[in-house]
Symmetry: C2
Subunit: 351 residues, 2 copies
């Protein structure tokens, strides 16, 4: 009847501790749960602590989970793990989870299964207590599903509206900061290269516009070019810009990948960076440092995004009240590397 697994035989359980400390299991349990308003005699607590130490007791999370119908496990749904940003976010989430006594499951990168289903399955079977949602796919469905399950979740590095808890980045402020760097270098024709469709794009363009306005520069629609988020977009985008009568002297790419594309075209066309043209990336990562010239970019507290989101989720799961459930973290700083420099003198007067 008793499963005769290695683990089952070896494991020290709460009664063992209780016996060793000459108390009932209930006391041990109560002490373990760290209940602030619990009253125990100091020597009792002492004895129990010692027994726990001595026996190397660790509570069995399955039993506890069964009893409390909680798993102390969170899951993070990630769309594409093969990206510069997610690993760092995961790392932060992992750290926070660990600190709060939770485990972190990473899922949803299969791409094959529908995220909402995955989430639902996990939640329904009590496998997880809460969800960190970073996905863009199936956004609406997912939220609906989560709403019907009334599952605790936090949106990570992403937000939809002010109805849902999120931890995101102040992309608008960051975009303004790096654009400002370019205006301060004397650039007056600054282009934006990146995805324009989604909300992220809109916010970045808004920040870019803020900085232009601040510097008293005119808004030039031909300088804002749809370039998506991949290398190819950066390439075609820059070509489009170079074909203009009055091409930009500085280009802000939405990420390192798009910047890399732009850089490749610049190299091919014999345009020297930063001498002939400055190039900056909106977000910093592993790649920025590796390109030559290395890319000026904005550093973001990505690890902290994961960390804060997880901390928030834990609080929600545990029913604690929260000062804030909508957080936008400011960018860390603009990292100056070698791809940006003073605006070139006007190359040719228009006839």
């Amino acid at each position: 009847m008793t499963p005769k697994t290695r683990a089952a035989r070896t494991t020290v359980k709460i009664v063992d501790v209780a016996k060793a400390a000459n108390v009932s299991p209930a006391i041990v349990s109560r002490i373990l749960s760290n209940d602030a308003k619990l009253v125990v005699r100091d020597d009792t607590r002492q004895r129990v602590q010692e027994a726990i130490e001595a026996l190397g007791y660790t509570p069995n999370p399955q039993a506890r989970g069964l009893r409390l119908s909680r798993s102390n496990t969170l899951a993070m749904i990630v769309p594409e793990i093969n990206s510069p940003v997610f690993p760092v976010i995961i790392q932060g989430a992992q750290r926070a989870a660990w600190e709060h006594g939770y485990s972190l499951l990473v899922g949803g990168m299969g791409g094959e299964e529908e995220d909402p289903q995955v989430a639902g399955r996990l939640l329904r079977s009590n496998r997880i207590d809460g969800l960190l949602v970073t996905t863009g796919r199936h956004e609406e469905q997912m939220l609906q599903e989560l709403a019907t399950l009334n599952a605790p979740f936090v949106l990570v590095n992403r937000y939809l509206d002010e109805d849902h808890p999120y931890v995101a980045l102040d992309e608008r402020g960051a975009a303004a900061a790096i654009t400002r760097h370019l205006t301060e270098l004397g650039h007056r024709r600054i282009a934006f290269l990146g995805g324009l469709q989604r909300r992220v794009g809109e916010r970045r363009v808004a920040g870019y516009a803020d900085a232009l306005a601040e510097a008293g520069l005119p808004w030039a629609p031909e300088l804002v070019v749809e370039a998506g988020y991949y290398k190819h977009g950066g390439e075609s985008g820059l070509r489009q810009l170079l074909a203009l009568d009055d091409p930009p002297t500085a280009v802000l790419a939405t990420n390192e990948i798009v910047a890399a594309g732009a850089m490749a075209v610049a190299h091919a066309e014999g345009i020297r960076i930063p001498k002939d043209m400055s190039l900056a990336s909106f977000s910093d990562g592993m790649v920025a440092e590796l390109l030559s010239p290395s890319l000026t970019a904005v550093r973001f507290p990505l690890e902290r995004v994961g960390y804060e989101a997880t901390t928030m989720l834990v609080a929600i799961v545990e029913g604690r009240s929260l000062p804030q459930t909508r957080i936008s973290l400011p960018h860390d700083e603009v990292i100056l590397r070698h791809s940006t420099g003073a605006a070139p003198r006007r190359r040719r007067a228009r006839p």
Copy 2:
């Protein structure tokens, strides 16, 4: 007494299914466990299946885990998640885990806690059934700890000796393949730039040597330069090579990062790639495509490494016998991009 959580009230349990199907919970359990040598009347099985469907029953993993002292959870210890390779491996592991009905925990990237301890703690408390070990830190301690716990584990993309199960890459073969690409282009002075200290380095150098020998080229010790695994190593390494009387016409870097460093120096020195010098990277990843010129590199089945390792681990955990527990996967192919080309004609005769 009953915890009045939302979940606890809503959840459909095995007795509900049993009642609906007019059988005992035991039957349902047995049918669920998919026991091949189980005998039930077909109509009974039918009724049970229908009931399960109808009620949308999912077994509670906590209860099951408590009973069986298993968690159906695996953990992967990753040293630094912020690396081009790990995310892909994780993705493969995740997929395999899911397919076998396991969850995957990702841990150990904190860097702060000692991996062996983490692993031990996880295992001891029945939290996880097996471990995927990719870490290099604390290698010896870790294995000792794992050995004493007699915990099931598989080494991923890494091996120590033939005593432990592993899924790794045939790095030697891959190194030979890409070196061969360079010899076939007519290069006769080919340098190797990378970490030489660890086993990985040794194997890559061995493959490089294989291909040189194959092509009848002499072994030139001055062409094998310690460059570690980071950008800086690539920079100083290439400088060292350029200072030689007879510098190489082709350089093989151990990874994209080192290659990026070398490329930066080449650019700075006015060396045109691939016209004056070819540059190849041992391993392919996100970065290779982004550099200009883009890097010729070897593609590895990293996703498969994660997948196979996990499949192997599941088999070990479940006590199934295995055809193989030491696997080296061959490389996928050499991806030809724009950083390699025919060897230049000898630039100057030696006086």
